[in-house]
Point group: D2
Chain length 350, copies 4
Amino acid sequence: MIKVGIIGATGYAGAEIVRLLQAHPDAQVVWYGSRSYIDKKYSETFGNFYKLVDSKCLDDNMEELANEVDVIFTATPQGLCASLVNDDILNKVKIIDLSADFRLKDVKIYEEWYKIEHKSPQYIEEAVYGLCEINRDKIKNARLIANPGCYTTCSILTAYPLVKEGLIDPDTLIVDALSGVSGAGRGGKVANLYCEVNESAKPYGVAVHRHTPEIEEQLGYAAGKKLTINFTPHLVPMNRGILATEYATLVKKDGALPTASDIRAAYEKYYGKEKFIRILEHGVYPETRWVEGSNFTDIGFKIDERTGRIIMMGALDNLVKGAAGQAVQNMNIMFGFDEAKGLDLVPSFP
Amino acid sequence: MIKVGIIGATGYAGAEIVRLLQAHPDAQVVWYGSRSYIDKKYSETFGNFYKLVDSKCLDDNMEELANEVDVIFTATPQGLCASLVNDDILNKVKIIDLSADFRLKDVKIYEEWYKIEHKSPQYIEEAVYGLCEINRDKIKNARLIANPGCYTTCSILTAYPLVKEGLIDPDTLIVDALSGVSGAGRGGKVANLYCEVNESAKPYGVAVHRHTPEIEEQLGYAAGKKLTINFTPHLVPMNRGILATEYATLVKKDGALPTASDIRAAYEKYYGKEKFIRILEHGVYPETRWVEGSNFTDIGFKIDERTGRIIMMGALDNLVKGAAGQAVQNMNIMFGFDEAKGLDLVPSFP
Amino acid sequence: MIKVGIIGATGYAGAEIVRLLQAHPDAQVVWYGSRSYIDKKYSETFGNFYKLVDSKCLDDNMEELANEVDVIFTATPQGLCASLVNDDILNKVKIIDLSADFRLKDVKIYEEWYKIEHKSPQYIEEAVYGLCEINRDKIKNARLIANPGCYTTCSILTAYPLVKEGLIDPDTLIVDALSGVSGAGRGGKVANLYCEVNESAKPYGVAVHRHTPEIEEQLGYAAGKKLTINFTPHLVPMNRGILATEYATLVKKDGALPTASDIRAAYEKYYGKEKFIRILEHGVYPETRWVEGSNFTDIGFKIDERTGRIIMMGALDNLVKGAAGQAVQNMNIMFGFDEAKGLDLVPSFP
Amino acid sequence: MIKVGIIGATGYAGAEIVRLLQAHPDAQVVWYGSRSYIDKKYSETFGNFYKLVDSKCLDDNMEELANEVDVIFTATPQGLCASLVNDDILNKVKIIDLSADFRLKDVKIYEEWYKIEHKSPQYIEEAVYGLCEINRDKIKNARLIANPGCYTTCSILTAYPLVKEGLIDPDTLIVDALSGVSGAGRGGKVANLYCEVNESAKPYGVAVHRHTPEIEEQLGYAAGKKLTINFTPHLVPMNRGILATEYATLVKKDGALPTASDIRAAYEKYYGKEKFIRILEHGVYPETRWVEGSNFTDIGFKIDERTGRIIMMGALDNLVKGAAGQAVQNMNIMFGFDEAKGLDLVPSFP
């Protein structure tokens, strides 16, 4: 039984880690860190844990935590993890950072898109981008995991095999994505009030959203070259879910477009044995309701012969595969557990 | 490993049984009955089960089922179970009926409130009302369980200890309840379309709702006399959840109202050791979000000294404790499994 | 054309006054007061008014306002209006206060339930409770209107004729009410975030909600004696709407319960000519969707002969008849306009 | 005062025409056609009209209607209007068809995308595509208006000026759109039940949606050549609203991308005087909440210099500008009324 500490346990992603680990046979949360709620019972901030979690919230003290736990999840705003981590800590404990601090390899791009100074760039090179299905081997021995963002996980997984296999022209890639509101966090902002979000849909961060360079970097590795894409997030009125609809021009071979079989073969090649990626049947497209509460990413596609483009679509639960679930999946890989431990979650519908 | 058959597997309650049993170590669904979808893959009707359930839907044939399974769940409209069940079947297999057919001991009341003829009244006496926390002992050896309704489970559990202990005058009981929309089933009715239900709240079945006599009968046993109550259900725009707000006049003892401690003691007496009933802290009231996806019933109360009344409040997930969860709990009791097996569900929020 | 000033124009009720007055032929908003947004364009805080309202927000200066407008609406938290009003102002301008400051005639009850000191109790006696259908005559010549609350308007109108006619025993009255989230205001509170409210229903302020004494006082006038009632508000996931379900024991006459005709006659007596109250057909109950966006209150009822109680039900839009609409209706009465001017709003569905 | 007949008055679009004409000073609905509800009171199917509309539903008899009214709105499934219209009718009455029957000039494309035979192709040439801001002059004297679809109105208006001015390469155009659920109609389909739609987002009709050729045809006129585009609709959980996010590659001039000023100038050129199109300020993007209940289309844009693309965004209320509002706007133009008559609707928020 490993011991787990969470820094930022009272955000939505932090609470989802708590929920998942309640059902994990080999890991136990012993530190519920939350600077805002120190000494308050954890279950007072999340009533679902009443009678299930009896602990009080503790300070976000990474030094102390490093002595008491085997792995630390940081589910905090960008900047915090980078400002706390040091050699001493990394020698004692594994860190899975759910923020963006160690996702981008080029610190300049980080500072440009996030508008903050990076406090520990010396660990960027070492950090492993924790997209489990792609980087499984590197994750095994990592000390520091950069857990991917919700939009990013969905956007990358949906396009990865086709980019990798050269079936699409990656410079034509456009990612249009929808998100549930839990992705916006639990801060008391007017913009996220029920009445502001309900009965409305809106784009935001158009052409400047911070997940853009993350998608570009990772798909760039697959393409073997630098990419520039368009990514447009939208907020829609639901608690959970990411849906990514992605457009790209298909690459002709001998003057012919790839067929649906070609495309399916590429997806099968990379994901055929992946437990948490479901390639949908022909003519079926992902819907967020079918993945809610689970660690699945559902992927479907449609070739449009009229335009020569393919429309790729992916869906996941932003708090599970898009945050806490993938973080636990990373933990399982790092500690040599069965990768699906604690993650055998049947999507809950309705 | 016992074998399970479900008649009515493509309704919301049926699908929730499937979801719960996916995680049950000792029970396996082998028959997905659904007259409307015969030969169609089950996962085509509920995409959440894609890659998890590979079976096709079969006919609702109880005779045949009785030879193949150990327990049958009937998650069907009222009338069906009563029309299918017979001695031969009951000798071979346990039946847990999620419809109302065997809930009321007085067949006249059944026929009056449900406006249909009861096809097998000879089994009414034998059937056990499957409210686990109250009737656990009788459930153990039952062949036929009448699984309580969602409103009923919530309404009865919330008031039961105070009625039983004589702390409230049961003839003053008024139950005002709210329900999520999944309680209305998966039929294609205009009244349950998204646009009809969204952004609206409405009462229905006022003074004639069929759960009324069910509450009256069960609380009548607790009171030791016949009761007549008011019950008003309301539909509110959410997928899941029942919230019951109940009013009753407190019974004075030596001229004094019972205190909060008296009330709490009564709840503790009956539910203190119950895993699935959470008595909330003083000043905390139930909210459906804190029980969603779980088998919990949360209960809170407030004494109003100004009016001499108590307000009792209960919340549960209508598809879990209000239907499939309680059905599985009944199955566990009947087969001698740990009562919580497959039901260790942490409520999912948000 | 009269000139209108709004103090608290950037709350939901304030914005609804703006929306309604856009369509009012004889009144024009000239002062958009909002301390939090001074100098910011009003349409930046409410994008629906882009190109419709070009003004900037101004300070909440009642002294200055009194010189510039004919009527001031205060759509602010309790305490503010009472702290600003004085003789000089009241001699210059009409005030319609949407807060609770002048609703309760007994200042002690105000201070006890609201937990604040009343800063100008000398105007309480003079203030007219602006429930238009009941107090129309007094409103005509008032200088200061206490505009009723949303729960209160609905709760009182629904029960008033039966209390007034002695058809129900007012001491048995229980009001169980549901509210949309806009009633909670536009402040950035965690409790009102989308993910906290969506997919949940909850009671709050049980037995201590501040609208309780307001209902008691007004229905007490109808009953001709002091009343004590139970009132339980619930928050449900929708933007707008109040639904009140009210229970009371019917008063027998010569040993017989009043009939549905008796009840209907009482409603017709008081509301038969009222434009904004719709008495529903037999067997039809109010639903908030049918009044949304309009100034209507819909009322229905059901006699339960089994229990001797009546269930009265009312629905209105909390931002219109429950706030801004009634405020404009009061303004129309005060200035001698047609009472429905600017309020001919057809409910918008879906 | 002109007389109006509605065929299909009990669908959502039909009911919205009724709502809008309630406030129209020069038009009056005298025929509420609805084959499914003949002889039933109209207000029983839409409770919002209780006490406002007293009529009963009549049959969808276009011949008879033509003798009794000045204009007929057909808010019916495709195929019906084409099967009813004839010379005699068109000589007597104006027809505004909200279905797709007369939107596409090429009958083969109609039959290919809609999979039905066109019953009166002889009127296709004459029919005017009722996109008011673009075809105002032709609408004035038309007998038969093909009222544009909701997705189409939004998609075309958002891109039109940039296509017309040659600022974007129209063959790179990708339209990714979101719709509220009322666009799916009021039929009792499982797919549109509350629980199926709530808490989910999904793409549908990918690369085969029927609004595709409509957008292609109309923008093709602007481009002066045939176009092939991608259009992907998504269903999101809200009652009303269309949001279109459109991507296209900017056309360089002398090696330089158009500037934001160039783009704005193009929008101003075509829409600067249009009452119902609001070009948003720099950095502001449309949100469906700001147009709900109104006839506005809000348009914003963002140039992405990194990719050389522009992201154009438009929002409207699918039942107003996307259906009934535009239909009334067409009626106003046809009858020489002020174009905004009955359409001075302030968007309702929240």
